[in-house]
């Protein structure tokens, strides 16, 4: 008589097919070619190629895997392989470099010199991909990764479309073509709409993957696990119990060589419009009915659409721009933003931005969400602090020296020292009722010592396997531009007296004032 075998998580022997082993096997990529536009660029060297190599190291890539690098620089296949080898060795994190594995991985790397403005280059790519498919057995699957200047995205998509590369050959219904683009998705609401129209004229929306690497971070994903995998927090996650939320993404360094780029972007565009509004959406969204790509993204999009759009006369009270001047970081002198290389001496770029967002939905009505981000702040930290309302009766007023009751704060730390802390009040030992706050800490690294995949490993594997859950959709991009556009418009009309904070401090005084109006103050992380 066959032995009875218990089921787990809705998987039992009857439902297991073939050689599946969901408990033990990690997700694997199907055969495919990854075409990287901008193959000689920084992102490819620092992030993409180390992430692909690491996926190979973990055996996640199919033997039929290939990378086709495209950029303007003339280079042979061997030269490209050598450059990538050096990059992987230099930028690979938390992993050994296996020379023999590299030799095997590098067999799949080829290079094509081409100017994205030359129509012929797309025909050449099409022929090259045919040869790669035959030689490497990629089954015709292609992921196009645009790691170029954002102004070239639409042009490249149209070039691919001109030779039919956006669709698999007829009769190959299982074969896929996908395109990944990096942020920024436009520089304002209008340009985002134009970019989208041009991309969607070539590729189906379901095949367009807009990457926001923040969503690929393990700790951002853990916010969902924390909220929806535990029964005790979600009932408190609403206006009845939450007083306000603070999201902080602080950098201790200045722009460090990225001055020319940053001058055009600024903190609001570079961080809040994309990364931090996605974090806000993850913290505040409704539970999805299932953990599937569309269900999760629908909820994120709904939340982003619920952000109250500021009128011009509301911006001054709810958004603060800042720019750092010279100061000190520890014992080191930090030049002001305008003294950085590549930055104009009268640049009006915001290197700091703080915004109060309100959400017009049932759950969060009246709860302010404060977001701040900046360069040259005292320390590097990204965290979300959820401050709960105080107990209804201040029983221990005397014990707290007349202060109101100590509010509970739940802190979700994204970097560094990823973890979760809960602050609560405790009685000090001894006679009498002396109360003081204490912290209960969970540290990700000490509970799970295993290596976390980098955001690019996660997101590349997702794109190759067709999982768009952690990618942003056009309606999400539109909604987040809609939320920040009035701020950008208002700031464009103002003359700010920059710099208005010294490097190594927590930003302009106006930012503290913004919270004071609500009776709140910024945490010192």
């Amino acid at each position: 008589m066959p032995r009875m075998v218990a089921s787990f998580a809705n998987v039992n022997l009857m439902s297991l097919e073939g050689l599946e082993d969901p408990l033990r096997f990690s997700r694997k990529a199907p055969p495919c070619a990854v075409v990287i536009y901008g193959a000689n660029g920084d992102l490819t060297k620092r992030k993409l190629m180390p992430a692909l190599y690491r996926l190979a190291f973990e055996g996640r890539l199919a033997p039929g895997f290939a990378v086709v690098g495209v950029s303007r620089t003339a280079m042979s296949n061997d030269e490209f392989r050598e450059r990538m080898r050096e990059s992987v060795k230099k930028y690979l994190e938390d992993s050994p470099f296996d020379e023999q594995l590299w030799v095997s991985f590098a067999q799949g790397l080829t290079y094509l010199a081409g100017d994205v403005g030359q129509p012929d280059s797309y025909g050449e790519l099409a022929s090259h991909l045919k040869a790669v498919a035959a030689e490497r057995q990629t089954e015709g699957n292609v992921l196009f990764y645009l790691s170029t200047q954002p102004s070239q995205y639409a042009q490249i998509a149209e070039g691919l479309g001109s030779v039919g590369l956006q669709h698999p050959p007829e009769g190959h219904s299982e074969t896929w073509r996908r395109i990944v683009i990096e942020k920024p998705f436009g520089h304002d609401l209008v340009s985002a709409g134009v970019l989208n129209s041009r991309l969607q004229a070539v590729f189906n929306e379901r095949d367009i993957y807009r990457i926001d690497h923040y969503l690929g971070k393990e700790t951002v994903q853990n916010i969902m696990a924390f909220r929806f995998g535990n029964g005790i927090f979600e009932p408190l996650w609403n206006r009845t119990y939450v007083d306000h939320v603070q999201i902080t993404a602080a950098e201790s360094i200045g722009v460090e060589g990225r001055g020319a780029y940053y001058q055009e972007a600024g903190a609001l565009r570079d961080m809040i419009q994309n990364h931090l509004l996605q974090v806000l959406a993850t913290v505040a969204m409704e539970p999805a009915s299932s953990f599937t790509s569309d269900a999760v993204r629908d909820e994120r999009a709904k939340l982003l659409r619920a952000i109250r759009i500021m009128r011009p006369d509301q911006v001054a009270d709810n958004a603060v721009a800042g720019q750092y001047g010279p100061g000190r970081s520890g014992s080191e002198h930090v030049p002001g933003f305008r003294q950085e290389k590549g930055v104009e001496p009268h640049a009006t770029t915001d290197t700091y931005a703080a915004v109060t967002f309100l959400l017009d939905n049932w759950r969060w009505s009246g709860v302010p969400f404060y977001i701040r981000t900046g360069k040259a702040l005292p320390k590097r930290v990204t965290e979300i602090a959820i401050q709960f309302r105080t107990a209804p009766l201040a029983m221990f007023r005397k014990a707290t020296a007349g202060a109101e009751a100590i509010p509970n704060v739940l802190i979700l730390r994204i970097q560094p020292e990823e973890g979760i802390s809960l602050r609560f009040a405790s009685k000090r030992p001894g006679s009498g009722m002396q109360i003081r706050p204490v912290s209960m800490d969970f540290n990700y690294g000490s509970s799970f010592g295993e290596r976390s995949p980098s955001a690019y490993e996660t997101l590349l594997l997702d794109a190759i396997t067709g999982d768009a859950t952690l990618y942003t959709r056009q309606d999400m991009v539109d909604a987040s531009w809609t939320a920040v556009q009035p701020i950008m418009d208002y700031w464009a009309t103002q003359k700010y007296d920059f710099p208005n904070y010294a490097a190594g401090t927590w930003g302009p005084a106006a930012s503290d004032e913004m919270l004071r109006r609500w009776g709140h103050e910024w945490r010192r992380p």
Binding site: R3, L23, A62, E135
Partner: protein, 317 residues
Amino acid sequence: MACEIIKPDRILKELGELWIDTAKSDPGKPGTESGDDGLLRACSMTLISFVDDEEDSMALGETLALLMREHPSRSIVVRLREGEDFLESRVLAQCWKPFGHRKQICCEQVELTATMNHLQDVASVVGPLAVPDLPRLILLRSARIVRAGALRKILPLADKIIVDSSRPGAPGFGELGAMLDSGHIAGDLAWTRITELRALIAHLLGETVPKVITIEYSGREAGPETRYLEAWLDGGLPDTHVRIKSGGGEGLGTPLVIRIDDTIVIRPGVGCAEIEMGALKQRASLAVGRDDELLSAELKIVVHDPVFERALNRITA
């Protein structure tokens, strides 16, 4: 011979004192924000290791220390020896500082040394020492317990028992099957050892159902890994003829070459596998299969594993 009276309460008190002493000896940097430095007590499970006293304590210590980084736990090591009336305990802390971190992470360890006649006492000491509400796992490396037929005495202590059927004196397929029959969760490192090879085969095959798969193994007799691989393929691919054959020579009976319809050839080696698919030759990395790696993989699974149980069921049927 020394034989002390050992009570769980006393050991728990010693553990408490150990933490206070350890924290005193590493209070963190003065003047920094509280909580940034110093010690962090970490625990995600109770791991109870039964070993024979002759086993190299240094090697076991290293394995457990490596394991602590991924699975911080209260570790209870029970060393069993022959002779009469010996029972003693000690407590210690295992600490390390992850690279780039300021905080030291510490786990606690209890060591019990006992003669076999005290096995019942050991069980009554170990039970209350387990951390409440967290998984309890047994690593069984004591041939003495198997020989004495005392498996039943220790099974109730844990949610899962992990053995390595390829070790001399380890429980065999029959004993593992009996554990499953009695409703216990079991894991076998011989099965864990072939996880990456199985994943590679599944990845290469995809939806394809081959006609014949041949597993060639080293030595004259198929070892547990080969038997598991055969049973897994047999169960997962009912329309495929799976056969095993000896590749001759000496060896431990582990898989040497896997031929799939003569179109795919896989040669697993230490740390990697060579793959031939027609003209395409590739290399895939496989874990080296150190004890701590295998144990780490097994500690992640504290539920019934239907694929493992299906394979074991086929072997013992």
